[in-house]
């Protein structure tokens, strides 16, 4: 051609390395190391099997809900009812297992019903949002009141009790490792698998540019609804885990998890606007939140000031992440 004067350099692939530095979870991983360090300083026995097992048990529900929330946020939506779903599933499972007589069959049935209920609650959120094009924040805020209210109807006050087998199995586990450790590994594996699927790609596309995703031919409504259903399911799993520790029902159990999960997602580097982020980051983000709790607990700070300090640390961690990512660009 006539413009052979322009030499075209060979296609450059150096950008691959740059894309590594843009991994959303990178900064949160650094923060995680920092907070583990602080924990070791104030709690020298942090790495003992017992302390580690303990902290994983407390972290797990946070991680599960944060992962569910991540999928929802990937798709450009948000779910403020996850905490209420935790509460509702929590009390329904306790009441159901008790009503069915508390045997092994009753426990399995109760758990399955709980998982189903959570998934349905999430799917209902997704349906309302995508079928009627309602605002996710307001819609899920409203359903959170409904789910929370239903929990109070099912079990007005904390109480009821589960058969002891439920929590002994949960805390003793198999082959010397507690059940939460297996669940954590399973969570990481499943999330890693999902990350390689078309579904996650389509979800991110929907959150990144809904119009484009639609014009490309993706079933955007179903995709968003699916994410909400997954989040509901994850919250139900979290509710079952919480029961494994508490052994009794509590209709107000879930409240803190809603915004906690959003914080974990943001700490993990996922964009609230949707379309960009990582599930790994959210798992790390949830771990960071739990470690901050741990630091507060062992620091001997006066109880009444604990919340203030906790909020301050979360804010600092967030700011550190934001500043670091700005410098990088």
């Amino acid at each position: 051609m006539s413009d052979a004067v322009l030499d075209i350099p060979s296609r450059n692939r150096t950008r691959r390395s740059r894309s590594f530095w843009r991994k959303p979870w990178l900064l949160s991983a650094v923060l995680l190391v920092v907070f583990i360090g602080i924990n070791i300083l104030i709690q020298p026995r942090f790495f003992s099997a017992y302390a580690l097992g303990n902290i994983i048990t407390t972290m797990l529900p946070w991680m599960l809900i944060a992962v569910g929330q991540t999928y929802v946020i990937f798709g450009g939506s948000i779910d403020l009812s996850l905490g209420a779903i935790v509460s509702l599933v929590n009390v329904v499972v306790v009441v159901l297992i008790t009503a069915l007589g508390g045997g092994p069959g009753a426990m399995v049935l109760g758990m399955v019903a709980g998982l189903l209920l959570g998934t349905l609650c999430g799917a209902l959120n997704g349906f309302l949002i995508s079928a009627f094009r309602l605002q996710a924040i307001v819609t899920t805020f409203a359903t959170s009141i409904i789910y929370g209210g239903a929990a109070l109807v099912v079990l007005p006050q904390a109480g009821g009790s589960l058969p002891t087998e439920y929590f002994t199995v949960y805390s003793e586990g198999f082959f010397g490792l507690t059940l939460p450790i297996y669940l954590l590994v399973a969570l990481i594996l499943v999330a890693a698998f999902v990350a390689t699927t078309r579904y996650q790609k389509h979800l991110l596309a929907t959150g990144g540019n809904r119009q484009a995703a639609f014009q490309t031919g993706l079933p955007v409504r179903r995709i968003v609804m699916g994410a909400h259903a997954i989040a509901g399911f994850m919250s139900a799993v979290a509710a079952l885990c919480i029961l494994g520790v508490a052994g009794a029902g509590d209709p107000l159990m879930g409240q803190a998890f809603t915004l906690g999960s959003v914080s974990a997602v943001v700490l993990g580097g996922t964009a609230l606007a949707g379309g960009w982020g990582s599930v790994t980051g959210s798992i790390i983000g949830a771990a960071i939140l739990a470690l901050i709790n741990n630091i507060i607990f062992f620091s001997g700070i006066d109880y009444i000031y604990q919340a203030i300090v906790q909020g301050g640390i979360i804010l600092a961690a967030l700011a550190a992440g934001v500043f670091a990512s700005r410098r990088q660009k």
């Binding site: 450059n12 950008r15 843009r22 596309a205 639609f214 993706l218």
Partner: protein, 509 residues
Amino acid sequence: MAAVLEASDVAKRYGAVVALERGELRLERGEVHVILGSNGCGKSTLCKIIAGAVPADGGSVVLEGRSVAFRTPLEAQAAGIATVYQETGLVPTLSVVDNIFLGQEPGKAGGRIDRKARYARFEMLIGRLGKLAAHLDPDTLVGDLSIDQQQIVEIIKALSREPKIIIFDESTSSLDRAQVADFFALVRALKHQGTSMIFISHRMEEIFAIGDTVTIMRNGRFIDRRPVSETSRDELVNLMVGSALQQMIEARQSHRQPGKPVLSVARLSGGKAQGISLELREGEILGLGGLHGQGQSDTLLALYGGITRRGGEIVIAGKQLGGSTPAAALKQGLVYVSGDRGRAGALRGRPIIENLIVGILSKSSKPIAERGKLRAQVRPVIDQLKLKFGRLSDAIETLSGGNQQKVVVGRGLATGPTVLLLDDPTKGIDVRAKQDLFALIDELCAGGMAVILYSSEDMELIDHADRVLVFNTGHVVAEISREDLSEFALNEASLKTAPAHAEQQPAHV
């Protein structure tokens, strides 16, 4: 010969706005069918209906003898229709490969994506595009690409679906001369394989270069269909505008006498621009030319403060530019208008009126915005650019692509700038409106405004610039005076390389 696709009597209205009244299109196998018409006449709407992105209110679409009514883009794709939409159809947060194969990812068991197969198919596609995609890295996020590169990604995405029919809705609007030539080579190859294409463009020379048949539309109606070889530019404009022939290419009125210097730039660097020096006088239109991405846009952005400046001195009307933010530039009358309305221009989801007044608002120091006064201020701009809209309170997305661009330009003009920086501003604006726009700019220039105009269209520079600085790899490699301006001169100059001494200019500390 039976048509591959035949649309007749297609209608579409949005509330009170009639977008399409009687659309008609007859696409033959293996042809490039141009749709021509002014901004807002319903071209994109017709394409969206064919592509299944928007449901029609009436009319029929017959594909290969079968009557169809696609309810989703997916159905149209399955039937072999791929579309490159006018407003971006890409996801900025995903990578180039992610976008190209979105929804069509080669799969493995369990719904996983076969990444290796995807890269292999990517390389294959790239091979078909030749030089056009030579620099494209599959892992870059689309949001990090320049707008011309994004357009190329969209073209590859459409190709990857192996369609029988491809709709290109202003797919060349962000490409420069060399890129358009490469794109046309691809179109010819596709034609050879029997692919039928619908091609929309406001650039007349492109229509004659690549079109086989042209359908002319006006105000949502089909007007006429002609073989391109049997028509002329004047006839087309006539059909399109529907009134007696205007002196479309009238030479610019008497040459202006540039006044005193208003802008002087020394050794400005930023982005790709390196050590740019220039002088601008009152009433002058200084053109920036050369191939895409050689530092023209970055020069304008660095001036305006849209990207970080690395050294350089800027003096506006005798005063040093104070500050490096767009706000500071705006205060001193330096206004930037982008052709990239998707990213830098339009306030998405906001009313047309807000989009128009936001420039005036950020310049003024009054704490309270007076609605009536502001409306009065933007009214002349709306009238002169012949903006086609439903109501001023409608969201900007309800405008056709060209009309959105008019809003973005109008917003800059309404502030009464001292120096106007135009970064490929007429993207998607029709021939007639372009003329109106430049008439307005000329008028403002007569009143002392100075303009720097970057354009990817040579004709625009030739018609309107007083002189042109030609860029290559971040440097100014040539200056062409008005007398010497021609397509040939621009073409030749764009291939020059920077003289060695330009690299050795002392770095400004």
